[in-house]
Point group: C2
């Protein structure tokens, strides 16, 4: 009863094996299926999953080219449990999963640079197909190469609708008594509506897979948030066992997608889970994801202990109304892992300090983060007659910062070696970055003057340089010629200016 | 040989007694003159001073109305050492010296509110008369009611000229070898040019008195900086004895002016003096000023220990590129004295982080400081073809913030009781002040949204209020009507907005 299986898949693509099996009882907990894959470069054991309607699947991401052989085992009889496929060379745009590189940075597994410029659409995967497609289109036109979003539906200001699908079988509890004030306290439903946390809803996960695939096709990493507190359904209040079962199911379904990142939680410290609970969830995830996708956990008030070995990078929400990007250096030094400031407040006009930045301030925070050797994250919270806010629903980008972030991305793409680190000799009143890639440190300097608006700056930089004046807001570059030693660069008394020095060959 | 002495002076005016005395030797150190004044309310001993050309003077500020009798004594024979005068009621605009009030605030001695909004013209008193007059005119048109400036001439970027007068007799050392790089290291002059630190130049001090008087006539406090490090003449490197002699001389000349404040230093921690030196200078000043004028000391990198008993208020230079005004609350709690942020960077376009704020940012820092219960200070550093920068030379104000600061002053003048304190129940993403005056706390709330630009804010404030929307940049107020309990105020999705709630009588 085995179904058709592709005999060829590209390296870092998804090989999928499937079969029909038992439908009786509760296959999600009564049955299991797993497989071992072996090629010249690796031998990997993966868990499969039940996809409903009697269909069982096993997914696998080959990290090498060449022939792979596999052997499936299951709690039920499987026809043709063995087979083989060929992993072909990766096609254009496929560089493999993103990995940590040189302590503070990222790169794709094939070595291509990955300069993370993220954005956030928490609940886009819960919207209708048209909205999902619109979001994918907007992302394709945008500079963003990472999207944070939730696996579970979201209940929060400006997003009180029911999702298109739920992650579990069951019926949603009565939400008519809910409002923005009491939803944190909402208890079980008096009519007995409830979820069966032992039965996943495959349609929900297929919806997420469609999103992950859409992102993958557009070169966007999918930063999947496994748990979050914005919940009226009870998905944030499951038992430890249900949490673990869910994490294993998500890993079995999603981890073969090369563009998946794991965010254990959004605002972990608002959820009613203990530090031990989080560590246990992390342990489940580490075991369930054989590909070691990037893993982190995002805070509300207190940063998680990013020194934990399972944490690959810092995923930070600013904890100060005024400072965010400016703390990148300190966080780099403290954690010695890549610093991703996933939420440094959003461009928009909603009545919250985290969602009412001007485009200028959002852009400033991007430049500050990037030039301090970190990786900034965007979000957009403009009120709109449609009721759709990018940060929650995806859809259209309406703000002023995305175009400037695209301009920043262009500037960053011109950094030798791709990565930046803070220049240690910088003055107190400037931001200054140099290339972080070994051997390239002396090739470029990138100065940024943030909110300051000097008419000029004086430099004393040994060597011969080609200088460019960059207006980060008006997105212009002005050739300032070849400079040497002591020189002055006019900056027009405008804020948001930068100066790039590129070393001239002698 | 006694000269004419006024027999009437207003309360908190300057009574001056003078006589001719010895000119031979060095009267500055060989002779002394002092007097005791006695009226119904006080008995005060004051030191006089030698004013050159054989003239000795004693100055006294009566703090009460009525008849005062005095008795002069001196190191030489004095004709008519005794006399009397009448202290008349203070005339309009004369409220006496400024004193600390209610721990964190100021008031004039007659009880009138003093809401400090300062500015800075370090070297204006060293300029020609026309420039001094222009500065006084500009101040009269401005919202500023305190001016910080130096007694000694200043050598610093954009101000490398010789001053009109020097504080001591002598000849300036050759400065032709100086430039902006080496002036900190400049040693004694090889040609032997030097100052006689035992002989003051009375013309220099008369120049300062003209400035102090001009400020007094315009209701502006004179925040006199006694020492500062921006020096190529050696005035920052005198002996302890010379320092003490200078402080006593300055106190004898200036302390009878009601509008004098003492700033022991600008950037004390850049001067080559020890903590012990500063405490010794403070002790000299405390003894030499019988009127207890306000006293503080201003930092570069490290705040002084403002808990010292002689310190009446905090005089702060921001020590962080990004945070300044935002730390007002913390400084209030730490020191429990008035927080004056004399330098929170300046509006301008010079190539330094402390001198290249936009008008918007300078204005924002003023609102943040004021609504956190502190007192902000302004400065202006626009490059100008004249070579004159307000922060150094005085002259014309060219920036965008002074008009906005005048608007702030108007708003502050409408606060019941005048003073503000942080509202403890405020949200994390708003600044909110209430009146600090006892019995008025519940009369008003003043919310400020700083760099944020919400379309609206929702309130839940018990009671009935009259709401006004304030655009702090465009300087408009919009009546938002009477509100009660839970209500929404539209803010137009613009930054720099404030909301004022004034309690309605039931």
């Amino acid at each position: 009863m085995m179904k058709g299986v592709a005999r060829e898949v590209e390296r870092w693509g998804v090989f999928e094996w499937s079969c029909h099996g038992p439908e009786e009882g509760n296959p999600f907990v009564d049955q299991w299926v797993r497989a071992e894959f072996e090629g010249a470069g690796e031998r990997v054991a993966v868990e499969g999953f039940y996809d409903g309607s009697g269909v069982y699947r096993v997914r696998f991401m080959p990290s090498f080219e060449g022939t792979y052989r596999y052997r499936v085992s299951a709690s039920f009889d499987v026809d043709e449990p063995e087979g083989a496929f060929t992993a072909l060379p990766a096609t254009r745009g496929n560089h493999g999963p993103v990995r940590v590189r040189d302590t503070w940075h990222f790169a794709y597994e094939d070595g291509a640079p990955y300069i993370s410029l993220g954005t956030t659409c928490y609940a886009w995967a819960m919207q209708g197909d048209a909205q999902i497609d619109a979001t994918l289109e907007a992302l394709a036109e945008s500079p963003f190469n990472k999207l944070r979003f939730c696996v579970f539906p979201k209940h929060y200001a400006y997003n009180l609708d029911e999702p298109q699908t739920y992650p579990f079988e069951g019926t949603p509890m009565d939400s008519s008594v809910l409002n923005e004030e009491n939803f944190w306290d909402y208890g079980p439903d008096s009519a007995g509506n409830a979820w069966d946390f032992e039965r996943f809803n495959p349609a929900h996960f297929r919806r997420l897979e469609r999103c992950i695939e859409g992102l993958r096709e557009r070169g966007v990493e999918a930063d999947l948030i496994l748990f979050h507190p914005y919940d009226r359904w009870g998905f944030s209040r499951m038992t430890k066992e249900a949490d673990a079962r869910y994490v294993r199911y998500a890993a079995a379904r999603f981890s073969a997608y090369r563009n998946v990142w794991w965010s254990l939680a959004n605002e972990y410290d608002i959820l009613k889970k203990s530090p031990r609970d989080w560590e246990d969830i992390a342990a489940v995830l580490v075991e369930a994801d054989p590909y070691r996708h990037l893993r982190s956990i995002h805070n509300c008030l207190h940063l998680y202990d990013f020194s934990r070995p399972w944490v690959t990078h810092c995923s930070i929400q600013r904890t100060h109304l005024y400072l965010s990007a400016e703390l990148t250096d300190a966080w780099r030094e403290r954690w010695r892992k890549p610093v991703v400031i996933d939420e440094m407040a959003y461009e928009g006009d909603i009545p919250y300090g985290w969602g009412s930045l001007t485009g200028e301030e959002m852009t400033r925070r991007f430049w500050e983060t990037a030039l301090r050797g970190g990786y900034p994250g965007h979000g957009e919270t403009y009120l709109h007659p449609s009721g759709k806010l990018w940060w929650s629903h995806g859809g259209q980008l309406r703000g002023e910062s995305p175009a400037r972030i695209a301009f920043l991305a262009k500037m960053l793409a011109e950094v030798p070696g791709g990565m930046l680190k803070p220049y240690e000799g910088r003055d107190w009143d400037e931001v200054c970055a140099v290339p972080a890639a070994r051997g390239h440190e002396g090739d470029m300097r990138l100065y940024y003057y943030s909110f300051m608006r000097p008419a000029y700056r004086d430099f004393n930089v040994p060597g011969r340089w080609h200088a460019t004046v960059i207006d980060t807001w008006n997105m212009t570059t002005t050739d300032a010629g070849v400079v040497e030693g002591r020189f002055r660069v006019a900056l027009g008394a405008r804020p948001w200016m930068a100066v790039r020095l590129v070393r001239e060959e002698p």
